[in-house]
């Protein structure tokens, strides 16, 4: 194999070329976000609705948490397991006897309390409800997705 002088330099220029493209891309994207905003944030609205539906379901069905399993919960509360378990939702319920039910991303129990959730759309915004019998915590970090249509 024969290598000429400057071949390495030419190769390195590709790196500079792609770096420049990345910088332009970041600049234009940043400018667009700065001018048009980040769009509509529905995470808290969705969490509140999910909490309301969960709370009403628990009051209606009088579940025994110690023996409640996910399929029964989804069926009785009329929730879609595909959406709730898509990695962007969380439902946690416990009672005074220590029994608990956790569905979705269990780490959201921690992320719900992080300050970063207010700025970062990948973090969930959460809502909770406490009664004599139950403590319910729900969260959503669902964002719209670009798809072929």
């Amino acid at each position: 194999m024969m290598y000429r002088k400057g071949v390495l330099g030419t190769g390195l220029l590709y790196f500079v070329y792609f770096l420049m493209m990345a910088l332009i891309l970041a600049g234009i994207y940043g400018g667009l976000i700065a001018f048009f905003g980040k769009g509509y944030d529905s995470r808290l609205g969705e969490s509140r609705l999910l909490l309301k539906e969960t709370r009403e379901c628990f009051e209606r069905e009088k579940f025994d948490l110690s023996s409640l399993d996910k399929p029964v919960f989804f069926d009785k509360c009329k929730f879609s397991s595909k959406v709730i378990e898509d990695g962007n939702h969380f439902i946690y319920v416990n009672n005074s006897k220590g029994a608990e039910l956790s569905i979705g991303v269990s780490d959201y129990k921690v992320r719900c309390g992080l300050d970063a959730r207010l700025k970062n759309r990948e973090y969930p915004l959460c809502d909770d409800y406490k009664s004599d019998n139950y403590y319910i915590l729900v969260g959503s970090s669902q964002n719209s997705r670009r798809v072929a249509a």
Binding site: M2, R4, T10, Y17, M21, I24, L25, I28, Y29, L32, F36, G37, G39, Y40, S42, G45, E46, L49, L50, E53, F74, K78, F79, S80, K82, V83, I84, D86, H89, Q142, S144, R145, R146, V147, A148, A149
Partner: protein
Amino acid sequence: MDKKGDTSTMMDTIIHIVIFILFFLVMFFFVTSYSNGATFWEDFYSKEIVRVVNGAEPGMEFKIDVTSLAVIAVKNGKPIKDIISVDNVNNKVVVSSRLNSGTSFGFFKDVDVVEWKTEAPSGRSENTQFIFKVKEKAK
């Protein structure tokens, strides 16, 4: 051995130019979609329709004004009847005001959205409505 003026030099240049053109085409469509509001309104309506579906009870019927979206869709050459669709298998609402691209958002309520249609009574994009019914999930 590479010589000055060899085909590999020309290939390098051609590859550079092709990447450059592709990059700016993507950027052009990206900026255009933002500047005419397509991205914003798609995002907004997908989330609002899902909010309505999540809060609905089976048997309810809704009419939602989607004029802002329809105006952009007409400008982009998208037929009004195709701007909103519902995927009941995956529980998703898909809103699209551009050709070949759209925005989807999932509804957690396990219901079917049926008899959905987007129509403009006047035949123009003004007063365009998305009409749909919510019913129990078909098992």
